[in-house]
């Protein structure tokens, strides 16, 4: 195709667009960038495998392979224990791809354009995180469907179960900033995954997700009791199958705040340095 340029309106001229800077504007910009991520997701839906098939496989594996042994005879009792735990673990894992994608994206140059625009430096990162909500919602949906299939039943009420999902998504939105930070600091997108697995695997297995903490040695119990994923899992369990929630909820919210306070500035600093 040759460029036979139509000789009409000028591409530049007239007044430049004035950029305003406020929190509302930044949020609006972040939403625009989130929409970009969602469009990309519709073009490559296979990006959702790790939040659809992967948790389902984990669920089936632990229910049917380990469930008999771990549940002490009652598979149903183990499923009631496992599903809320696995939800917490899956939601923490779901953020891994975010850092990986951001790392690859920045290499490609689209972010250079964002940097040259009069928008807040945080907008592209916040936008990417916002778009990731769709993945966390997908995880919750998968658990609602496959959890029911393997025999899980909510023992409290629908509202409490929905609160458990909402808390999990909110937690994921804070936890994923670790992944974003690693995505900014790692040199290749492949290494982002490696580093994140090193971080997330001990946190997800060194928790109360799969087995009761009382079966672990004392030194490990100390780690598990202070693991943010354990607190989240306890909350989700309490909200879905009953039991006390308040204590772990405070800890979970505290951890969420701490994750944001530490990793949002670190991620932004990494992003700014990565020019």
């Amino acid at each position: 195709m040759t460029a036979t340029l139509t000789p009409t309106p000028s591409p530049v001229a007239t007044a430049p667009v004035i950029g305003r800077r406020s929190i509302a504007t930044t949020v609006r910009h972040a939403v625009v960038i989130a929409r970009r991520s969602l469009i990309k997701l519709t073009r490559t839906p296979e990006q959702l495998i790790d939040v659809t098939l992967q948790p389902a496989i984990f669920l089936f594996m632990f229910t049917y392979i380990f469930g008999g042994a771990l549940g002490g005879g009652s598979r149903h009792a183990y499923v009631q224990f496992l599903v809320p735990g696995l939800l917490g673990q899956s939601i923490a894992m779901a953020g891994v791809a975010l850092g990986q994608n951001l790392n690859a994206d920045i290499e490609k140059g689209v972010f250079d354009r964002f940097r040259s625009l009069p928008i807040a430096r945080s907008a592209p990162l916040v936008g990417a995180v916002l778009a990731d909500v769709i993945r966390y919602v997908t995880v919750c949906l998968m658990f609602a469907i496959f959890g029911t299939l393997v025999g899980f039943r909510v023992e409290t009420n629908l509202l409490a179960a929905l609160a458990a999902f909402a808390l999990s998504i909110a937690f994921a939105l804070c936890f994923c900033w670790i992944s974003v930070t690693v995505g900014m600091l790692a040199r290749t997108s492949g290494s982002v995954q490696g580093i994140m697995f090193l971080l997330v695997l001990p946190l997800s297995f060194g928790s109360n997700t799969f087995v009761s903490v009382s079966t672990m040695p004392g030194w490990l119990q100390a780690f598990v009791h202070n693991n943010p994923i354990s607190h989240l899992v306890s909350c989700v369990r309490g909200l879905m199958v009953g039991g006390p929630v308040a204590h772990d909820l405070y800890w979970t919210l505290g951890w969420m705040l701490a994750l944001l306070v530490v990793f949002v500035p670190l991620a932004l600093r990494g992003y700014n340095k990565r020019a």
Binding site: L5, P9, P11, A13, P16, V110, D112
Partner: protein, 318 residues
């Protein structure tokens, strides 16, 4: 005299590589500054500093009157950037790419859409507007990239090697686009590896080498130094070289030089020298395998200015 782009003493080091070693640049408002240099000379680094993507280690620069280090947000309101590698989002369509930029520039949804349509039409991309950019050809991508940098009607436009990798016909299309930007009053900083391109578009040219400006002049001034048009002739028979030399001497008045094997090159004044040479060589019955009229290549420019060949470093310091 007001400068839309002014840089003095910019330095930047990446690890052990001194990408910029004190660069001064200046472009008056409404003009085109050509920055000519080989790969790795520091062109891209300079552009990234001026476009606020990178901070200089030392030195200072203003763009559209704002300091790039102290007022980057103000600078970003005034500039458009087209990178060396077209930075469009491949998964998004042409329209989606441009609308996104428009909305980030605080246009309303409707205005962003209108602006996208206007630019796509202007860059002859209307038919491809709703196809993902990954289906675009190289030339189309460059045009979309350029369109994206113009959404905000920038006063200062940075074009980092806008035609590198394009075939010659597409290159001239791109030149036409750039000329029209200039006629609209924007200030343009254009980096290139081709003297021909700088000559065709720029009001002034800064030649940059190893992170330093080694020459700054108008295209005519630069050509006076490095030589303007050259006519090169390679006869079929090497024995005819002497005869060819005599003919070339009468055309140009200059002394023909042997360049390469069996080839003679002579500086000439005008395009007419080519037809003149064809006629005279024809009359003398001399067959030629090569006959060309060209501006000095980047290599030749560098040889004249520095006495050595341009060192091209494949890895352009980002």
């Amino acid at each position: 005299m007001s400068y839309a782009i002014e840089a003095s003493g910019l330095t930047k080091r990446f690890g052990s590589t001194q990408a910029l070693a004190g660069v001064d640049l200046a472009a008056e408002a409404g003009t085109v500054l050509g920055v000519l240099g080989p790969n790795g000379a520091g062109k891209t680094t300079a552009v990234r500093i001026l476009a606020t993507l990178l901070r200089a280690d030392s030195g200072s620069a203003t763009v559209a009157g704002f300091d790039v280090a102290a007022q980057p947000h103000k600078v970003r309101q005034q500039i458009g950037l087209t990178g060396q590698y077209a930075s469009v989002d491949e998964d998004l369509t042409g329209t989606q790419n441009l609308r996104m930029i428009g909305e980030l520039l605080n246009l309303s949804g409707r205005d962003a859409k209108a602006r996208a349509a206007e630019l796509l039409a202007w860059f002859d991309l209307a038919e491809a507007a709703n196809r993902p950019a990954k289906t675009y050809s190289g030339g189309m991508r460059r045009r979309l990239d350029l369109a994206a940098s113009l959404v905000g009607r920038p006063a200062v436009i940075f074009l980092d090697e806008p035609t590198t990798g394009l075939d010659p016909a597409k290159r001239e299309d791109m030149w036409e686009v750039v000329r029209r930007l200039i006629s609209d009053g924007s200030t343009v900083l254009l980096t290139t590896q081709y003297l021909e391109e700088a000559d065709a578009l720029a009001d002034e040219i800064s030649v940059i080498d190893r992170g330093r400006v080694i020459a700054h002049d108008t295209p005519d001034g630069l050509k006076r130094v490095v030589g303007g048009l050259r006519l090169a002739v390679r006869p079929v028979e090497e024995a005819a070289l002497a005869e060819v030399g005599r003919i070339l001497a009468t055309i140009s008045g200059g002394r023909p030089e042997v360049s390469g094997r069996g080839k003679l090159t002579v500086p000439v004044e005008s395009d007419l020298a080519l037809t003149d040479a064809v006629a005279r060589l024809g009359n003398a019955g001399i067959a030629v395998t090569e006959l060309s009229l060209h501006l000095p290549s980047l290599d030749e420019v560098f040889f004249t200015l520095t006495g050595r060949r341009a060192e091209t470093d494949e890895e352009d310091a980002a």
